[in-house]
């Protein structure tokens, strides 16, 4: 049953391209598809965030090959393509949001840089820096007053310079102040997310505005030609001081007519802004942090993947429509518009490499990727109308094409939804019957209870004595891998690796006390020198911190000609003390004489 369904799934998509060595590490927000040269050949533009050791780059793929590469100055938060003007040929611009700037590229050449307007700096803070510059106050005083200011207005309200200063190591503070007190202080915000909004026409190639979410809790709508701020919408109320930072933005409608911007925020709220509003309205408070979001253009319903492994759908008024529990945590999400079936699917990539396609709440298709997909986008690529582009966490690029003939089974009801009720009640518990033997034995127990109890108690006392004797013997022979109460709180465990005749022994020591340090100890091995030779018969152990496991290794060679094995005693000894602290006996494995045969 399941395997058949899988086959059916597979037939809908063609594997167009797989490059496991693309080494592009990115997220959905940094991928876009655009007809860069206005020749009908759509390119894939992707910002490669790199691995940390490699540089951040803007890469353009033409078909399956890398077309061009541009180095970026900083890590980008979003890449979008949009039409700036009506000039012919209709070539779209690429906007890369990075730090507090938005870089516009046209024809893949730098075209314009837009910086977010700087914000007001607290007058007291400005004053303080001025005084330092004129050497009216000491650096220590500046630090103290800035700290007070921080407590008063909050860290986020300070300028970048002050924020950096407060985070400095005390030794580097004077040089930092020396270096930066000449620079005029600025407070600048950072772009968190970016999207586009059509300006006046709903045409595919119509001019679009940029919609930018900022760290200061604002949404800005920018004019595409003059780069002036057309709208400025605050996400939080004027009076409340807590910032609400947008994490994912989605905008639709026309700027000149009517538009809606939905923002999923970092505090888990879903907020709506419309034309003419200066403040956003809370739609709904989500139960968990948002991962990715899409808004359906038809009925403005919001589908959002959350961090609690669910996919939830809200109506445009913020009413919860449905919840689907995902089999794993969601990594990315993208809409898949299917005009020929007049519907829009939602593709959700899950942790582990599974990709699920939902039509509403109904699962219609499953795609398997070799790794978790972190970046996912669907649209025109090359000459192909419906391409699904996936970037996995290990940097490989996969392109799948939806077959022209593909027809998703949208009507088939999901079988899992109609579970027969009462299945749980029908499971039989396997409880064995009480046997006759059991009853007989119970009778015996009842008849002889006094005798049995006496025997048991007598044996128990005898056992206690035996155990105590054995314990004393173990203590005297120091045959204990863990210390008893009152002694050094050390634990020893040993492991022998290898097939022989050369073995490696790993001794792990752990200080199991809460706070005492242990020092001046060593590990000593006691063995038959006719059987074994050891690389380090004594290991000096440095200080042992509580709770940390310290492994020590040594090589042991079996030098006996017969294939015999022996025991090795490991002892933990203290300097100037004849009795070992701990000891353990290790049964050495027989060595496989494969090499000797």
């Amino acid at each position: 049953m399941t395997s058949l369904r899988n086959l059916e799934y597979e037939q809908l998509w063609l594997n167009a391209h797989t490059d496991t060595r693309a080494a592009v590490y990115t997220f959905s927000s940094c991928i876009t598809l655009a007809d860069l040269n206005a020749d009908g050949d759509f390119k894939l533009i992707v910002a490669d965030l790199g691995t940390g050791s490699t540089n951040v780059k803007l890469k353009v793929y033409k078909g399956t090959s890398l077309h061009s590469e541009t180095a970026l100055l900083d890590v980008p938060t979003g890449v979008v393509s949009f039409y700036m003007d009506f000039s012919e040929p209709r070539m779209p611009a690429i906007a890369v949001a990075s730090g507090s700037n938005i870089y516009i590229y046209k024809n893949m050449r730098p075209y314009f840089k837009f910086s977010l307007p700087s914000m007001d700096v607290n007058p007291l803070e400005k004053d303080l820096w001025m005084q330092v510059r004129e050497e009216q106050i000491e650096v220590g005083v500046l630090m103290e007053l800035l700290n007070n200011l921080r407590l008063e207005i909050g860290f986020a309200q300070l300028s970048t310079q002050s924020q950096h200063l407060l985070a400095q190591d005390p030794t580097t503070v004077p040089s930092f102040v020396q270096q930066y007190c000449k620079v005029p202080i600025k407070r600048q915000t950072v772009v968190t997310c970016v999207t586009t909004l059509k300006k006046a026409l709903a045409d595919e190639k119509a001019v679009s505005c940029l919609v930018v979410g900022t760290e200061s809790g604002e949404i800005l709508v920018l004019d595409p030609e003059a780069f002036t701020i057309l709208e400025k919408i605050k996400l939080c109320h004027q009076e409340s001081s807590t910032l609400i930072v947008p994490a994912v933005l989605s905008a639709f409608g026309l700027h000149a007519v009517e538009f809606r911007i939905v923002a999923a925020c970092r505090d888990g709220s879903l907020r709506l802004a419309r034309r003419g509003w200066t403040e956003s309205k809370l739609l709904v408070q989500l139960p968990a942090q948002p991962v990715a979001m899409t808004v359906s253009p038809e009925n403005a319903s919001i589908t959002i993947a959350l961090m609690n492994q669910t996919l939830q759908c809200f109506s445009k008024k913020g009413k919860l429509q449905w919840v689907v529990t995902l089999p794993a945590a969601a990594c990315a999400l993208c809409p898949i518009p299917l005009p020929h079936q007049s519907t829009t699917l939602v593709a959700v990539s899950l942790n582990g490499g599974l990709l699920q396609l939902y039509n509403g709440r109904q699962l219609v298709d499953v795609i398997k990727a070799p790794q978790s997909v972190s970046g996912l986008v669907f649209g025109k690529f090359g000459q192909e109308e419906n391409a699904l582009i996936m970037f996995t966490v290990d940097g490989s690029l996969l392109v799948k094409i939806l077959k022209r003939t593909a027809h998703f089974n949208l009507q088939g009801g999901s079988t899992s939804a109609n579970v027969v009720p009462g299945v749980a009640q029908q499971i039989k518990l396997q409880i064995p019957k009480k046997t006759r033997l059991f009853l007989d034995q119970t009778m015996r127990e009842r008849d002889n209870c006094v005798m049995m109890h006496r025997t048991f108690q007598r044996d128990l006392f005898q056992l206690r004595v035996d155990v105590a004797r054995a314990c004393v013997q173990a203590l005297q022979s120091c045959n204990n891998p863990i210390s008893l109460e009152g002694a050094e709180p050390v634990k020893l465990s040993a492991q022998v690796l290898g097939l022989g005749p050369l073995f490696k022994m790993v001794i792990t020591l752990q200080n199991i006390s809460a706070s005492t340090l242990i020092q001046d100890i060593g590990i000593l091995f006691h063995f038959d020198d006719k059987m074994y030779s050891m690389e380090k018969p004594f290991i000096k152990v440095p200080i042992l911190l509580p709770g940390v496991e310290y492994p020590y290794e040594t090589m042991i060679r079996n030098i006996s000609e017969l294939a015999l094995s022996d025991q090795i005693r490991v002892m933990v000894v203290r300097e100037g003390q004849t009795q070992p602290v701990l000891a353990a006996i290790i049964n050495m494995p027989v060595c496989d004489l494969l090499g000797m045969v």
């Binding site: 989500l286 409880i431 034995q441 049995m452 173990a474």
Partner: protein, 499 residues
């Protein structure tokens, strides 16, 4: 007395060494006496013959460099590799697992230790003492040591110089070829030469002798050529049905990890030899390997009706009853073993446990004391551990702690003892010690879910949610259906996703 008759008589009395020396004297007088030559060869072979069906063990190399595997993840209940997947099988919840990731079995056989571990490292890390180690390949020194004397030099050179012998001459003479083959296989353990001889001999008898086909199959099997071995055994079975051939064909399928085909073969065998104990034992073992204990016990019961002194069957049924909450039945089976004359530490240990759980308290501790007095070095740790369990049951935590420490001092790798010590420390409120013990248990035995679960619950209690989350996932890896672990994970996930 005629010296040849004397040698024959010695051979029949199984006095092989004297027989060999008599034969050597005779051969010194007349080196071309073929009868004496054959007799000496047979005596030498008998001296070192091992039941290779029982002593067979799959090596690490065979388990990993396995090029016969068809499916990476087989369907549940069709593979010996993942016994946890069978439905209705026992789980770790009520039947503990051994260090190779299988439920404990009633008897220890080479097969019960050869579960296929997930990784090479895990296979190499399992405590490899002289009793538990796996050979690196099935053709390693151990089998040679078990089966041959060729390691020890013989005075005056080896009896037969294999490299000088002309195998073609002997192949045509069945009376000489068969003992010579067995000598090469068991005494010299030279499979290449044995195979060469077998091939020549089969050709000489025009592929009509089923015995040679079985021997060919044996050689192919030990060389790891499973499909060729299967072909030979099948061909032999068409000519002549023999229990050994059925068993060997079954083993081929087990090596190919097709236990269901192996079961089919054994059932076909049972049609020719109804109620044959060795075949029934094989079937019961395969079901045990598939973790289908109900079927396994059904076949063991059949064995007991045929052979009421079969130790393996009685022990396995007893173990099954013990872990299905009927200790009084288990007690009866183990008592039967005692009556049969078995007298060892393991048996007394099991009897003690059965008595305790069947509420026959007067016998419990005396059984354990017997067990302690009989115990050898390698099982004394288990006995101390079980006495520790009794002490916990009685409520004497101090005694329990002492017993568990004794278990650890006699076997420093006894993971369940570390785990229980951790729980005792936790009861005393000493978190650091408890955590150290849980960590030790988990590093010694990653197949146990209890240390992980306890560690996670401890971390959760003291508020270290991150550690708790990481550790509980390992617990669920070891035992995916453990409900308390699932609940803990669920609570933790709620903690993490809630705003």
């Amino acid at each position: 007395m005629d010296p040849i008759f004397l040698a024959l008589s010695l051979y029949k009395k199984r006095c092989f060494e004297e027989c060999v020396s008599t034969c050597t004297e005779l051969l010194d007088k007349n080196p071309f006496d073929q009868a004496v030559w054959v007799l000496k060869m047979k005596a030498l072979t008998e001296q070192l013959y091992v039941d290779d069906l029982e002593a067979e063990e799959e090596g690490i190399a065979e388990a990993f460099m396995d090029n016969e595997t068809i499916a990476e993840s087989a369907r549940p209940g069709t593979s010996l590799k993942n016994p946890g997947t069978s439905q209705g099988g026992s789980t770790q919840g009520y039947r503990p697992w051994t260090q190779t990731g299988r439920p404990v079995s009633g008897v220890i056989r080479p097969g019960t230790q050869t579960a296929r571990p997930g990784t090479m490292e895990q296979a190499l890390r399992t405590p490899r003492t002289s009793k538990t180690a796996r050979p690196s390949t099935s053709q390693s020194a151990r089998t040679i040591r078990l089966g041959t004397a060729s390691m020890l030099s013989e005075p005056g050179g080896p009896f037969i110089q294999l490299s000088r012998i002309n195998l073609g001459n002997y192949a045509a003479k069945p009376a000489l070829a068969k003992p010579l083959f067995l000598y090469i296989l068991y005494h010299e353990n030279n499979i290449r030469h044995a195979l060469q001889l077998a091939v020549l001999a089969t050709q000489a008898c025009e592929f009509k002798d089923w015995w040679w086909k079985v021997q060919l199959g044996k050689c192919y099997y030990s060389l790891g050529l499973m499909r060729e071995a299967e072909q030979q055994f099948r061909s032999a079975l068409r000519q002549h049905q023999c229990i050994e051939t059925f068993l060997r064909l079954g083993r081929v399928y087990i090596r190919l990890d097709q236990p269901l085909s192996a079961l089919d073969v054994c059932r076909t065998g049972l049609e020719y030899f109804p109620k044959e104990v060795t075949l029934l034992t094989e079937i019961a073992r395969i079901f045990e390997g598939l973790n289908n204990m109900t079927m396994s016990v059904k076949y063991y019961r059949e064995i007991v009706t045929e052979d009421s002194t079969n130790v393996e069957a009685i022990a396995c049924i007893g173990m099954h009853h013990f872990y299905t909450d009927q200790p009084e039945m288990a007690l009866r089976f183990y008592r039967r073993l005692l009556q049969m004359g078995l007298y060892n530490a393991e048996l007394f240990n099991n009897l003690g446990l059965c008595c305790f759980y069947a509420q026959q308290y007067d016998m419990t501790l005396s059984c354990f004391q017997h067990a302690l007095s009989l115990a050898k070095d390698d099982d004394v740790a288990d006995i101390w551990y079980n006495i520790g369990l009794i002490a916990i049951g009685v409520g004497d935590t101090r005694l329990a702690g002492q017993c568990l420490r004794l278990a650890i001092s006699s076997d420093s790798g006894h993971a369940p003892a570390y785990n229980n010590l951790g729980v005792l420390e936790l009861r005393k409120g000493r978190m650091n010690e408890a955590r150290a013990f849980f960590q030790a248990a988990a590093s010694l035995a990653p197949y146990l879910f209890e240390p992980y679960f306890n560690h996670s619950a401890l971390s959760h209690k003291i508020g270290d949610l991150q550690a708790s989350y990481i550790v509980i996932q390992k617990a669920l890896e070891a035992y995916p259906n453990h409900i308390p672990s699932q609940e803990l994970l669920h609570t933790l996930e709620k903690h993490f996703t809630i705003i």
